[in-house]
């Protein structure tokens, strides 16, 4: 507690010193659509040290001494706005920013604040511009923000064509993926080849590589914060796309012009239509669909309500004998309230659900297996802007989790309620973005997190050999875990164009995905802490150097990180993933990850793009694996290179190319063989002792804008995935040779060679 009060004193002391200030505040929107803009920078022109970015709802607040100012508002893809202000009292100033593309000839300056990457205190954060996503080549003609994220240093792809990814040596479940504040437990469709995010419905995406401020928590590797569009509150728009295997449609418009709006977006793949044409697979089904919807309503200048939701489903059926369907549902209701020009509040009630259901309809047995994870989540956040040097956020978050693990039911077997487990996760946090001196900016925060494993369901006691010795069904709290998570990141500006940054963060994680792959699969098991499984703890120290040159045309950054992880989970040797009590198959230990991330980016001009490089190592040490020595984690890759280039040939045409190279994952291969009952048994000597062959691939893309009218715009996108047809291994298996039973061979299966696609996107 001493620590907390000290932090409070530091946080608040600076606000008392200044006197006789007034506040300019308001909302920043896009002029054409009325969509609120996140991260617009409001700067005092004569004193660029004083600035503020608009929050997630487009609200900003700047406190300044009495006087005359020129305030500059700048945002990517929009024209700068300079507004003169004579500040003699508190003032509301709503700003509508003009889109750059609507008035192309007149643009003299670029719309973004050019050196924001150098100035901001948080490090290890990546913002993805949705426009960039639309220019890059894609697989199956479908744009995907999660796949674009994988091209950044420190972020590694989960595999060929996969939307799953790992960050700074984390695993796929150590990423917190939020859609309008709702956790998405499985962010992929169609076995990982599509992400759940329909890029037409997405406004903003930010990725924190383990360095997220204290308002985020619950995962130790990263936070991906995705915000949905609110919907145009000025005009009705219909946009969409038609691709080879999927199509989508997006409708948005005002409910009351300038006050409220709606958005509905849907997608459906139709690969199953082609299946119907084949004799062999005509009985099979394979498709997904998803919907995004959002409503927002402005009650007054001070109150605003948002309701948003996502519903997606994948269906895979092998005749009427076997089918599996899975998907996420999320719902978010948010209420913004402006207490005064310095105090902004948001209350969110969030629902999140992921489940899969397997239906088996055989002669001998008819049953279904249901597995589900469901959250009810209440989040209260206050944002307080005491003066121009501080920006405080504080609040709390309570989540009630319910997990139903693979429950078998049919007409005669009733559901077993004892298998359903509940947990209560809560957190209290405070964070301050503090401009300490002209050069030094500090983001300091503290998060107090608690997890209670709730009784009323079955838990197990295991012996040393991991056999179940006792089933217990306690009431009350089975186990409680309380952690204090400090977060600190700071930047020291060397000059206008360069800065040094450093950060330390601690995160804990109470929900764990038990998976056998790097990218995850729909039937992987989510479990929460139990009497046996403890929260994962991640401590990360990172440092960075940021440099912009040639008038901010180029950005360069170098970041290093070291992460130490506790209570890491891995399968024991020869684990049975189908074991009824999964704890019998698990072992726990330590992890460490360290690396260097380099990024060189060209932002302006006809030719743009970036080169990213990561040098890294990720290891685990778990008693019972590899003689208790440190070993390479599955997702460990030494080198990871991405080269992304975009070129605007003309107003109509732009082309792009992406090349990636990655060291193969660590993997377990046999070193020898022996015979049991006439079968070849593989002789293994160590876990993850081998490497998959290196992965590399070139993708090409081109976009052509078709003839435009005032009302109607459309474009054609062409992509060629894996342009030089590299046979990247998807899996490698070992088997007896078909010609010589004494010979054993390794067989490599590769998935995608030369996948061309074309899609037509339109808007009117």
């Amino acid at each position: 507690m001493k620590y907390i009060s000290l932090v409070f004193t530091i946080l608040l002391s600076s606000s008392i010193l200044l006197a006789q200030t007034f506040t300019i505040s308001g909302y920043i929107t896009d002029k054409k659509t009325g969509e609120s803009l996140i991260g617009v920078i409001a700067l005092v022109k004569n004193n660029p040290g004083i600035g503020r970015a608009s929050n997630d709802y487009g609200f900003y607040s700047l406190s300044l001494p009495k006087g005359k100012y020129e305030i500059v508002f700048s945002y990517i893809g929009h024209q700068k706005q300079i507004i003169d202000i004579d500040l003699t009292g508190n003032k509301t100033l709503n700003v509508a920013m003009e889109d750059m593309t609507t008035n192309l000839q007149e643009v003299v300056v670029t719309g973004t604040l050019d050196n924001e990457n150098v100035r901001q205190s948080t490090m290890g954060v990546e913002k993805i511009n949705v426009e960039t996503v639309s220019k890059l080549p894609v697989i199956f003609g479908e744009r995907d923000i999660l796949k674009t994220l994988q091209l950044l240093p420190g972020v590694k792809s989960g595999g060929d064509g996969q939307s799953g990814f790992t960050v700074r040596g984390g695993t796929v479940d150590q990423n917190l993926i939020l859609l309008d504040d709702a956790p998405v437990y499985n962010a992929s469709h169609l076995l990982g080849f599509f992400s759940t995010f329909n890029s037409d419905a997405i406004k903003d995406i930010a990725l924190y590589k383990g360095t997220a401020p204290a308002q985020f928590g619950g995962r130790i590797a990263s936070v991906v914060d995705v915000k949905m569009n609110e919907g145009d509150n000025q005009n009705y728009d219909v946009s969409g796309g038609i691709g080879l295997i999927s199509s989508k449609l997006n409708i948005e418009g005002p409910l009351q012009k300038g006050k409220s709006s709606f958005l509905i977006s849907g997608r459906r793949t139709y690969a199953d239509v082609f299946l119907k044409l084949t004799e062999q697979f005509k009985e099979n089904q394979l498709y997904f669909y998803d919907f995004n919807a959002k409503l927002n309503y402005r009650f007054s200048d001070k109150d605003r309500l948002f309701v948003s939701g996502y519903f997606g489903r994948d269906v895979l059926g092998l005749s009427d004998r076997f089918s599996i369907d899975w998907g996420n549902t999320t719902g978010t209701m948010r209420w913004n309230h402006l207490y005064n020009s310095k105090m902004f509040g948001n209350t969110s009630l969030i629902y999140s659900n992921y489940d899969y259901k397997i239906n088996i309809n055989g002669d001998a047995a008819q049953f279904s297996i249901l597995s589900r994870i469901r959250d009810w989540n209440l989040k209260q956040e206050f944002q307080y802007f005491p003066n121009s040097n501080n920006e405080l956020k504080f609040g709390y978050n309570v989540i009630y989790h319910t997990i139903t693990p693979g429950q078998i039911t049919n007409d005669t077997i009733p559901a077993d309620k004892n298998q359903i487990r509940n947990g209560l996760e809560s957190a209290l946090y405070i964070t301050n973005d503090w401009q300490a001196t002209k050069q030094l900016k500090i983001n300091i925060g503290l998060r107090l997190s608690n997890f209670s494993v709730l009784g009323g369901s079955n838990y197990y006691n295991l012996d040393a050999d991991k056999n179940v010795i006792d089933t217990i069904n306690p009431s009350g709290v089975v186990a409680n875990f309380l952690y204090l998570e400090p977060r600190l990141s700071m930047s020291y500006t060397l000059n206008d164009n360069s800065s040094l940054k450093a950060a330390y963060t601690r995160n804990t994680q109470n929900m764990h995905l038990i998976t056998n792959s790097v990218s995850g699969s729909p039937t992987d098991k989510w479990i929460m802490n139990t009497n046996i499984v403890k929260p994962e703890i991640g401590d990360q120290v990172s440092t960075g150097y940021f440099l912009n040159f040639k008038d901010n045309m180029y950005e360069f950054s170098a970041e290093t990180y070291f992460k130490f992880m506790q209570n890491q989970i891995d399968y024991k040797d020869n684990a049975n993933e189908q074991a009824p009590v999964i704890e019998t198959e698990l072992l726990y230990g330590k992890g460490r990850a360290y690396g260097l991330e380099l990024l060189l980016k060209k932002n302006k001009g006809k030719f743009s793009g970036w080169i990213g490089y990561t040098l890294s190592r990720t290891e685990k040490q778990i008693d019972g694996i590899n003689q208790n020595l440190w070993y390479a984690a599955r997702q460990d890759r030494t080198h990871d290179i991405s080269i992304v280039t975009m070129y605007d040939i003309s107003k109509r045409w732009n082309i792009s190319a992406v090349w990636v190279y990655q060291t193969g994952n660590a993997i377990t291969f046999p070193s020898g063989k022996y015979e049991i009952s006439g079968n070849n048994i593989w002789l293994y000597t160590e876990r993850n002792g081998y490497r998959m062959p290196a992965y590399h691939r070139l993708d090409l893309g081109a976009t052509c804008k078709l003839k435009e009218t005032k009302r109607f715009k459309s474009e054609l996108s062409f992509s060629l995935y894996n342009a030089y047809g590299r046979e990247n291994p998807y899996i490698i298996t070992f088997e007896e040779s078909e010609t010589d039973p004494n010979k054993t061979v390794a067989i490599q299966t590769s998935l995608f060679r030369w996948i061309p696609s074309i899609s037509w996107n339109f808007k009117w």
């Binding site: 076995l191 690969a271 062999q280 697979f281 009985e283 005749s319 009427d320 004998r321 076997f322 599996i324 002669d363 001998a364 077997i413 056998n516 792959s517 699969s521 729909p522 039937t523 399968y571 040797d573 020869n574 684990a575 049975n576 993933e577 377990t668 291969f669 046999p670 070193s671 020898g672 063989k673 022996y674 015979e675 049991i676 009952s677 006439g678 079968n679 070849n680 048994i681 593989w682 002789l683 293994y684 876990r687 081998y690 046979e727 291994p729 998807y730 899996i731 298996t733 070992f734 088997e735 004494n742 054993t744 061979v745 390794a746 067989i747 490599q748 299966t749 590769s750 998935l751 995608f752």
Partner: protein
Amino acid sequence: MSKYKRSNILIIFLLLLLSSCEKEINIDLNNTSSRFVIEGNISNFAGESVVKITKTQNFDETTPFPTVSAAIVTITDSLLNKIDTLKETSAGIYKNSSLYGVVGYTYKLQVKIGTETFTAFSTMPYPLLLDSLVQIIPKEGDPVPPAGTPGAGSKQFQPSYKNFTKTDKYLQYVITRNDTLLNNLIIRSDMAASGFSFPIPFSVQSKKKDVLKINIQLIDKTAYNYLSAANRNIGQFSATPSNPTANISNGALGFFKAHTSQKITLVVK
């Protein structure tokens, strides 16, 4: 026969759907030092006890597995302390035609190779008599697994028995088809301890008029765990592939099981 890919049904489906391609590749795998592999059993019928001793090989070796001769192999009844010796009948195969086990007794296998001694223990489970074992005939219109997929060309069989014990029973079906011994390790657990026991069917690659001789063996949990781990190893199903945990001391691979036998002959319909 059992060339399953290391994957689940989803991936099999995916591979079929997409333009995947397979090819043989060269991987530089490490050499290993050679280890002994001992596989032994004792049944409640005389003449069924066999101990086989072989050695491991490097992955790229193309000769048959080397056998180990001149070992001293004994099986000891732990209650009466009666020692029986098994004689080498062919290279690496040790037998004793008069030896049989008794239900509930624990047996000790001892193998001496040169100066090294390996021991293993197993208890013969109480028997469980099958009421019947019948072939499941698919109804008309039921879909048949397409050729080339696992399950194609196989017939299903349904055992029927009553387990009143409320403890799990572990079964192994050792099958000869037209007098050829099948290698498949077919094992089933009836999950009686969980409350809803039902005998689980199994399938055998066969065609009409094939003669199947099925030896239904009741095995103990250690043998069951070993064999299911061996199946995960063969099929490369496990996320963390490893050697099945042997119940033999001193670093030998393999296992020793005491089991009861019940034999049924069927003609495939």
